[in-house]
Amino acid sequence: MFTPILATISETATEHVVEHGAHAAEHMSFAQYILHSNVINMVFVFCFIVWVFKKADVIGLLRSKQSQIKEVIAKAEEEKVHAQSTLQHAKENVKELENQVKTILLDAKDSAESLYSKIQKDAEQKVEEIDKNLEKMIDVEEKSAAEEVINGLSKEAYELATSKIKDSLTDELHHKYINNFIDSLDETKVK
């Protein structure tokens, strides 16, 4: 695309140089000639660059890129702020968590102490009850054993006394008992 233009420019320049050269050869030195040529080249290059810039809308691209970069930066800033906020929140959560952990630990300690106290109290009560029951059981057993012995002794004593009395009873004694009973009867006893 640029080749025909350059060729045209080159031809024009050549023509100009040739035309001008005829005069320059007359009027200017070689150094002046080089200088003029470079200046012209520079102008051409500058124009070319301006053209290219206009053609490709480099500034627009740059601005667009700049805008994108700004957006990215803004987004990054937002994310940074968001991240900072999250971080802050996380820190707060951690702090809160610590407090909660402390509270839980305190509660657990209280509960454990209360439970321990209750268990200890219950155990003491049970031990006391067992002691009491044991005492009662021992009392009952003692009484039962004593009753058994007394019953046995009483029964034996009763049987022995009955046997002895029966052996020693005579008709005379029988009559004496009956007469004594009849004599002992009075109004208060009978009515």
């Binding site: 009753e147 007394i150 019953n151 002794l153 009483s154 029964k155 004593a157 009763y158 006394a161 009955t162 009395i165 029966k166 009873l169 008709d171 004694l173 029988h174 009559h175 008992y177 009956i178 007469n179 009973f181 009849i182 002992s184 009867l185 009075d186 109004e187 006893k189 009978v190 009515k191």
Partner: protein, 186 residues
């Protein structure tokens, strides 16, 4: 419960009939004779299972029952007593004869101011002892005492008196048992 009701009913029936018999008798001798005759009829019926079965059999007519009783007791007991037994048969109350006799005895005792006392002794009471006891009780109760004696050797020695619902225990057995109870309680 049912038995108690039946027993109470029997007592009421017996009391009514016994009161009727007392009214029927014109004199004490007649009343005593009435009682003796009824007691004899009752003893005869009680002593014969066949006669008891015959009298309580529902398939045998009342006339047949009367006829048999007439043959057995006719001429041996007074006609009033026989008629009274026939009335009991007619009213299906012959089973209450024993209770009626007991009630009659009670009514008679009440009428003649007699107190029946049961005396249970370890040995047989001599006639002197019976007289002494009766006299003592008559003095206390101001009533004629009729002693009903019985021997029970398990009393060991001494005696027990049953006067109505009251019991006076003077036996050696009860004293020994009392001592036994005292020992156990201590």
């Amino acid at each position: 419960m049912k038995e108690d009701i039946a027993f109470n009913k029997l007592i009421v029936i017996a009391k009514r009939y016994s009161q009727a018999l007392i009214k029927l008798a014109q004199s004490d001798d007649e009343l005593n004779s009435l009682y003796d005759n009824l007691a004899a009829v009752n003893e005869t019926i009680k002593s014969s299972d066949d006669l008891k079965t015959f009298l309580s059999h529902p398939a045998i007519s009342k006339d047949d029952k009367k006829s048999v009783l007439g043959e057995i007791f006719g001429g041996k007991v007074s006609q009033e007593v026989l008629n009274f037994v026939f009335i009991l048969l007619d009213r299906n109350r012959i089973f209450a004869l024993g209770a009626i006799i007991n009630a009659l005895k009670e009514e008679m005792n009440r009428k003649y101011n007699i107190l029946v006392i049961r005396a249970i002794s370890a040995v047989e009471l001599s006639s002197e002892m019976k007289a002494k006891l009766a006299q003592k009780l008559e003095t206390i109760y101001q009533k004629k005492v009729n002693l009903d004696t019985k021997v029970d050797e398990s009393l060991i020695a001494g005696m027990v008196l049953k006067i109505g619902d009251k019991i006076i225990d003077g036996s050696v057995k009860s004293r020994l048992e009392s001592m036994k109870r005292t020992l156990i309680q201590r």
